[in-house]
């Protein structure tokens, strides 16, 4: 832990909001994105990620520094989200069909009216939508490892620490999660196959 971070943590323990805000500056976007992929909803994501920061602020005195601050922060975020999803699943299970219908309306798979621009750009965007959508339909367990690995760019060891499971489990869970992700994507789109071929060719060219 570097000296500035340590100092900021000390000040935050004393209730200094500004110090805490400086401390979390570089984590805000990431924490928001964890919550966004976990809840799949921007409003919930804002609410929950902010709750996670508040929780971190009020209990920062308990942060003992045996993991990095970011790992600790992500762990709190994942827990706040899992808690929320567990509670929601209890109440929502009655109206599953409704919920699914609304979800589809909100984010159609094929976005036709992409703004003007090079063909490749719009293709890239479609691919992103496709992958995001596939990720959203993964199980919670698989989603959380991929968010930590691919969006947060964490090494397996830190993911294991964050989720409190061993590294071997993380390794196989990530493998299975990506397998599933691939299956969903292939099922949904042929575009993807084309893209991979292009990608492959470009890779050889360059």
């Amino acid at each position: 832990m570097d000296v500035t971070e340590k100092k900021l943590i000390e000040l935050s323990v004393g209730g200094d909001i500004e110090a805490f805000e400086t401390l979390i500056q570089s984590h805000q976007k990431k924490v928001y994105n964890i919550a966004l992929r976990m809840t799949k909803n921007p409003d919930d994501a804002q609410e929950l990620s902010q709750d996670a920061f508040v929780r971190a602020f009020t209990s920062i005195g308990k942060f003992r520094g045996d993991s990095s601050f970011s790992t600790w922060m992500y762990r709190i975020t994942i827990n706040v989200c899992t808690d929320f999803l567990r509670k929601r699943n209890k109440t929502v299970s009655l109206s599953i069909e409704q919920g699914a219908a609304v979800g589809e309306d909100e984010r159609p798979l094929q976005i036709q009216e992409d703004g003007p621009g090079p063909e490749e750009l719009s293709e890239k965007k479609q691919l992103k939508d496709l992958v995001r959508d596939a990720m959203d339909s993964l199980s919670e367990e698989h989603r959380e490892v991929l968010v930590l690995r691919d969006l947060m760019d964490m090494p397996y060891r830190d993911i294991a620490n964050t989720l409190n499971v061993n590294e071997g489990t993380i390794k196989s869970r990530i493998n299975r999660a990506r397998e599933n992700l691939k299956k969903i994507i292939i099922q949904r789109q042929e575009l993807f196959q084309d893209y991979v071929v292009k990608f492959d060719r470009r890779g050889v060219d360059s």
């Binding site: 209730g15 921007p42 508040v54 762990r75 992958v131 090494p155 499971v165 990530i174 991979v196």
Partner: protein, 314 residues
């Protein structure tokens, strides 16, 4: 397992560079020779690189609404700490009344000879000290000394003021409480005293002695591991000062064991630094899980843990 199976199973870890040098080399060599695995690898690479581009920007006004929430949380924390203090003081007051009553009983000679002897042991005729002496016989740890009695006296006087004050206090009072709100150590003396009374009066029978450098190993056997963890979580939540890692761990394992399908035993490592809270925790556990077994083993780490092993009943 043939080579392709081995390769596919480790493809993700290969991409993430999370394999040993030897394994990395083996996969690399296989990919050079195998077209179908190479295609798989390219697909995977495309998916993963797209995933890493999924980060979205923060919504507008995110930081400012977070700031408002932090301000509110700070205010609430200060208020809560104050309320805890008041509750603590009233407990001390209640404890004190009992001690005084007992003192009077002792003095008027309603107790048997043993108690009389204890009274004689104490040099002063102050009632709280007579009880303190009696207590130190039962429990090895935290024996009360005359200075403890003095502390209690002080706290009691302070409680009078706190309780009679209105809930809506002046700003001056808030500032005063603010310091102790976040630097929690200041309160430790008071907490010690509260636990001293509360436990002494209500749970005379549970006397665990804590050894330095020893972990406490608690073994329980239950029908449903998931709900056992939930009960432990409920106990943990009673202690407002409880370690956030306790909560995180408990939540994690509830998540892992929900639905009651998993049968393997679970081990939790909880932290209760304060001896009083540690004692209350064990007492509560004993109440809820009658078949509990409590041992202590030399601690492997600097920190003393309460290691809880939950086994599923066969």
């Amino acid at each position: 397992m043939n080579r392709c199976d081995y390769c596919l199973e480790n493809l993700s870890a290969y991409l993430d560079r999370e394999l040993s040098e030897h394994e990395m080399k083996a996969i690399e060599m296989h990919l050079e020779q195998c077209d179908s695995c190479t295609l798989e690898f390219n697909i995977l690479k495309t998916i993963v690189s797209t995933c890493s581009e999924l980060l979205e920007e923060l919504p507008e006004g995110y930081s400012s609404s977070l700031h408002t929430k932090l301000e509110k949380a700070k205010e609430e924390k200060i208020k809560n700490d104050k309320r805890t203090r008041i509750r603590m003081f009233s407990q001390i007051a209640a404890g004190f009344i009992i001690v005084i009553t007992l003192g009077i009983v002792v003095r008027t000679g309603f107790f048997d000879n043993r108690m009389m002897m204890m009274k004689n042991e104490s040099t002063s005729d102050a009632a709280p000290m007579a009880i303190s002496a009696g207590r130190s016989e039962q429990r090895v740890t935290s024996a009360a000394t005359p200075s403890d009695s003095l502390k209690m006296q002080k706290s009691f006087e302070a409680s009078d003021i706190s309780i009679s004050e209105d809930e809506s206090n002046t700003d001056l009072d808030k500032t005063e409480n603010y310091d102790s709100g976040f630097v929690e150590n200041k309160d430790n003396e008071d907490i010690g005293v509260t636990a001293f009374f509360a436990e002494d009066v209500s749970k005379m029978q549970s006397s665990y002695v804590r050894d330095e450098d020893y972990d406490t190993v608690v073994t329980i056997t239950v029908e449903d591991v998931g709900s056992a963890i939930e009960s432990i979580m409920a106990i943990d939540e009673k202690f407002t000062q409880s370690d956030v890692n306790n909560k995180v761990q408990l939540e994690d394992s509830i998540y892992a064991y929900r639905g009651g399908t998993r049968n393997d035993p679970v081990e939790l490592k909880l932290i209760y630094v304060e001896t009083d809270i540690w004692q209350s925790f064990l007492a509560e556990m004993e109440l809820i899980f009658p078949n509990i077994q409590i041992d202590s083993v030399p601690s492997q780490e600097e920190q003393q843990y309460v290691r809880i092993i939950i086994q599923k009943e066969k």
